[in-house]
Every structure is written in structure tokens, then in C-alpha cells.
């Protein structure tokens, strides 16, 4: 009873703050990260979703949504990272998402950090490719994400990441 009252209050607060549908910013770099993001997009139904990735050729897979391309980056190239961060800042500022979701890698890490600065809730789903240890980006950003998920039960920890199934 208490639990369901809590949820109702949250929902009322959410409705009061955002009269429109929740705005989701969904971010993934190329290849497997993008494929995994596509496999969870059903979770965004009823939301206003904008996508951010690193190849313009993915645009056709998400017709009708705002779509942004950023350059790919990794932690070995500081200049590329700064460029990506600058571009993502303008995307996050423009979209003002309620929720930022990423399946990795570096652009997702940056988007979660920037989204959080503007008050968005954040979700990090670590790639299913990381079967022995979490990704570096995930390990860095996970503790500050509101929902931090791994796709392998043996990598789950009580303080996070948590396991709630996989994209397969």
C-alpha cells in the first residue's frame, strides 16, 4: 500500500513537471553498441525519443525521431573526446532530456555526464560484449548512473551494476 502510494506521488510529480511525454535521449556508438540500443528501444514507447550515434547511415532505422551524429571518440584521443563533448553539450542543451540512456561507449559516457548536469535521470546498460569485466566507460560512469545494468548475472554486485536480463 505504502509502496503504491509512493509510485503514485512520483507519477503525479512527473506529470506536473513535464506535461508532455518523457523525453529520452538514447545514445550509442557504432556497431554492436547501436544494435543493442535498437533491441531495447521498445522500452521507450510512449516517450519522445532522440537518438545520438556516430554514423549517419543509422538514421534510416529510426524514422520520425530527432537524430544527431557525433564523432566517435575513445579515451586515447583527448582532442576527439573534447570535440564529442562539445557537440554532445549542444545536443543535450537543445533536447533537455528527462532521461539519458546509453549502451556505450565513450559518447554515451559523456552524454550521461552532461545529461546529469542538467538534471536528467541516467541509465547505463553495459554491452553484452563485456563478459569478464565491465567496460571502462561503464566502470567510470556506472556509480553515478541512476540505473546501472550489466547483461551478465556474474558481473552484478549489490551496489551495482545490477542484472535485469540481456538484449538477447
Amino acid at each position: 500500500m505504502l509502496q503504491s502510494n509512493g509510485l503514485q506521488n512520483d507519477q503525479i510529480r512527473a506529470l506536473a513537471t513535464h506535461s508532455a511525454r518523457p523525453k529520452v535521449l538514447a545514445v550509442a556508438s557504432g556497431g554492436g553498441h547501436w544494435v543493442q540500443l535498437m533491441r531495447i528501444r521498445h522500452a521507450f514507447e510512449g516517450c519522445e525519443v532522440s537518438y545520438v550515434t556516430v554514423h549517419d547511415s543509422y538514421r534510416a532505422q529510426v524514422p520520425g525521431h530527432n537524430f544527431y551524429v557525433v564523432n566517435d571518440a575513445n579515451r586515447w584521443s583527448k582532442i576527439a573526446l573534447m570535440k564529442t563533448a562539445a557537440r554532445l553539450s549542444s545536443v543535450v542543451w537543445r533536447e533537455r532530456p528527462d532521461i539519458v540512456v546509453s549502451t556505450g561507449a565513450a559518447p554515451g559516457y559523456l552524454a550521461l555526464r552532461l545529461g546529469r548536469l542538467l538534471g536528467a535521470r541516467t541509465v547505463w546498460l553495459d554491452s553484452i560484449a563485456n563478459v569478464e569485466q565491465l567496460s571502462m566507460s561503464g566502470a567510470w560512469v556506472g556509480h553515478s548512473a541512476d540505473l546501472w545494468l550489466t547483461q551478465w548475472p556474474h558481473l552484478a554486485r549489490p551496489e551495482g551494476p545490477h542484472y535485469a536480463g540481456s538484449v538477447l
Binding site: G31, V35, H42, I128, L147
Partner: protein, 168 residues
């Protein structure tokens, strides 16, 4: 047709060269390879450096067998379209990737019986001979597990989610 793919990042000539030699030895005319940023001239197969995501999916769809690096984009797409996939993981010691996570991914997925794995060139030729006559398998659901979709959706809607028995 046999479709070979090394993904969107670095080349992986060790894989493609082995398939090229095998195709020459066995007289297989119908092999297409997406080879990444490689300058290697292949003799027995047709090759392109990159193809767009739409063509990628069409190539997988029409393939009798997919041969790939152990990247999740390739693996998930093949499973979604119900294709047999034989992967060879990239190795950090040979400069093919930054770390050996593809070896771990390949090992874990082959233990689950979802994919075929060759850990070196010799095993790759051997498995190519075995798998050559292969039929399609069941297609993967187009979405992630309902548990995962449900967890993310609940989090978007309420800001809470119940995982591992603990409320977040």
C-alpha cells in the same frame, strides 16, 4: 553466398585471408567480404571496405553462412536473422584490438551454443569445411528480453525499479 564481415573499426586481414585461401582451395566462387580499412588484395573473393547498415542486413539475410570477428553487431544481426555464424576473435597481441574481450565474448557465447567459434586460422579452415553445408536456425526475437525492457520502462515511468530483490 558466404558473407564475411570484420565490422566498422579496424581491418582483420588474418580472418579474411584465411577465408580467401579456403575459397581458392575449395573452389568457392560466391564469397563476399566486408574488410574494413584494409589494402590487402584478395584473389578468390569479392571485397568492399565498408557497406551501409541496410546492405549489411541484406547480405546477412541472403547468406548461407556468416563469418565474422567476435563483434556484437555481427553476432546479434546474424542471430536476429536466424543465420549460422562462425566467429574468430580479434587478438590484442597481434594488434587486432585494444584488449582480448573478443576472446572472452566468443568463449562465453560458444559455451551457450549460440555461435561457432574458431580461435585460430587452422581451426577456421577446419570449421569452414564442416559448416559449409548448413541450414538456417531459429530467429532471435527482434527485441531484448522482456525482463530488461520492463525494467528500463518502469524506470523511465516511475524513476524506480525493483532489481535483485532491492528497490532502487
Amino acid at each position: 553466398m558466404i558473407f564475411v564481415t570484420v565490422g566498422t573499426q579496424g581491418h582483420f586481414d588474418r580472418l579474411v585471408r584465411t577465408v580467401d585461401e579456403w575459397a581458392g582451395m575449395r573452389g568457392k566462387p560466391d564469397v563476399f567480404a566486408q574488410i574494413g580499412p584494409s589494402d590487402y588484395r584478395y584473389e578468390n573473393i569479392s571485397a568492399e571496405r565498408f557497406i551501409d547498415p541496410g546492405e549489411f542486413r541484406r547480405r546477412v539475410e541472403s547468406a548461407s553462412l556468416v563469418i565474422a570477428h567476435a563483434g556484437m553487431g555481427s553476432i546479434i544481426t546474424a542471430l536476429e536473422l536466424g543465420k549460422r555464424i562462425l566467429v574468430m576473435p580479434r587478438r590484442a597481441s597481434l594488434g587486432e584490438h585494444r584488449n582480448d574481450h573478443q576472446v572472452a565474448t566468443a568463449t562465453r557465447f560458444s559455451e551457450q551454443g549460440r555461435i561457432e567459434v574458431a580461435f585460430d586460422e587452422q581451426e577456421l579452415s577446419l570449421k569452414l569445411d564442416q559448416l559449409e553445408v548448413s541450414c538456417d536456425q531459429d530467429r532471435l526475437d527482434p527485441q531484448a528480453s522482456s525482463h530488461l525492457i520492463g525494467a528500463i520502462r518502469t524506470f523511465i515511468e516511475t524513476g524506480h525499479v525493483r532489481l535483485d530483490g532491492d528497490a532502487l
